[in-house]
Symmetry: C2
């Protein structure tokens, strides 16, 4: 175990056991370096990660303080549908529902920050798990950013997977909510009469230009999102909740 990890663990212990309660100004880097018998660089590394994890706040001259974590961060990993289904030990299936090029509706333009004259590709498709509809993907792709999408039929590969391959990096924003399904959605997903859908909305950007906006609808009766703690320091893994 690297030294800076040991130091992190010890500092974390002092915070979590109340030795350094919220608001405490902890010793300077120099003092800590002396205590742990290492260089200030190493202390700095340990503290930097604690700071980015939101446990402490560092200000020049003012020093380092333990801050109140009023909000809790949770990390949701949103895997491609295929992997998600496979990971659950189910068979994956895919079907294209519709593909259409043109103008985006106002709501989509707003979400993607497009002007009225931008053209987009609208793709609707369905992902199956063991033959059951698992996710309805309703997606708009900005053709200005990803012109290559024009040449893709999306009959064999889902826009989801194709985009992952095509666009190496992007920034994303997600919204999670539950909603009443529209008629088409209810039928396509074969929902129970009173069943709602769990919606994951996602907008991604490449640098400053929008790539795609997607609404991913799941039968709410058999879907949930599980999060993990913001990692950074993994010392005592949380006991498996099963």
């Amino acid at each position: 175990m690297p030294i800076y990890r040991d130091i992190q663990a010890e500092l974390l212990r002092r915070i979590s056991t109340g030795i350094w309660p919220t608001g405490t100004t902890i010793p300077h880097e120099t003092a800590l370096a002396a205590e742990f018998d290492c260089t200030r660089t190493t202390i700095g590394r340990a503290l930097r990660e604690l700071a980015s994890a939101g446990l402490i706040e560092r200000k020049r001259k003012a020093g380092t303080k333990v801050i109140a974590r009023s909000g809790r961060d949770a990390i949701v990993t949103i895997s491609p549908v295929r992997e998600e289904v496979r990971a659950a030990g189910q068979d994956y299936g895919y079907a294209l529902v519709a593909r259409d090029q043109g103008k985006a509706p106002e709501a989509v333009r707003a979400a993607m920050g497009l002007s009225a004259r931008d053209t987009v590709l609208h793709v609707q498709c369905l992902h199956f798990a063991d033959g059951q509809p698992h996710q309805f993907e309703d997606r708009w792709i900005n053709l200005a950013t990803v012109p290559a999408a024009k040449g893709q039929s999306f009959e064999e590969i889902s826009p989801n997977e194709w985009l992952i391959r095509e666009v190496p990096y992007s920034r994303a924003r997600h919204v999670f909510r539950a909603a009443r399904p529209a008629e088409q959605e209810r039928n396509t997903l074969r929902l129970a009469p009173d069943e709602w859908v769990f919606v994951v909305e996602r907008v991604t950007w490449l640098e400053a230009s929008a790539i795609t906006y997607a609404r991913l609808l799941h039968p709410a009766d058999r879907f949930q999102l599980i999060t993990r703690d913001p990692e950074a320091m993994r010392q005592s893994p949380p006991p498996s909740a099963e």
Copy 2:
């Protein structure tokens, strides 16, 4: 701007523009240090953050490769209800519904990893936004870990806020899903006849011992969770999606 940020930006550019497509092995730290005329330490810092952001993968001897970001991480910040309501510009209200000490039901014991003889405190309460029910909090507190909870009536302060104050730092696991409300929940939250609830489930631990298990129920018609990107490198802030 620090040098390592400049380097990150340049490397990011090479990745996002396809100069280094997915799968590329990029130059060694030593080579990059020569190119950018700095030390290997500085290159290492730049690369370390790109790696933790999931853009590259580093292996000794094998080198550093650009990887496909199949899964996208999103960070959800779950604020205390009071703050959440206040942030929305609404009036916050609180009411205790029930408080009861005893054994936990099997499902709760399993989630918290408790044995059959552990005693827990069961608290139900309601949070209001502008007089409307906003969240129904159904919570179990492990009295072995937080004995001080026995002395709290929770008539004035919600368990949520009290625990944040009481337990300095802890680890959490969340589950998000949508569910049909039980009869009591439907009435308490004054839901529309067909309305579902958006459920946030949370288990928190202090080190290895469970602190609390909570089910936070929201009227699905007026609730959503918004995520932000895993930070690390903030260069071009995402265009505001409004």
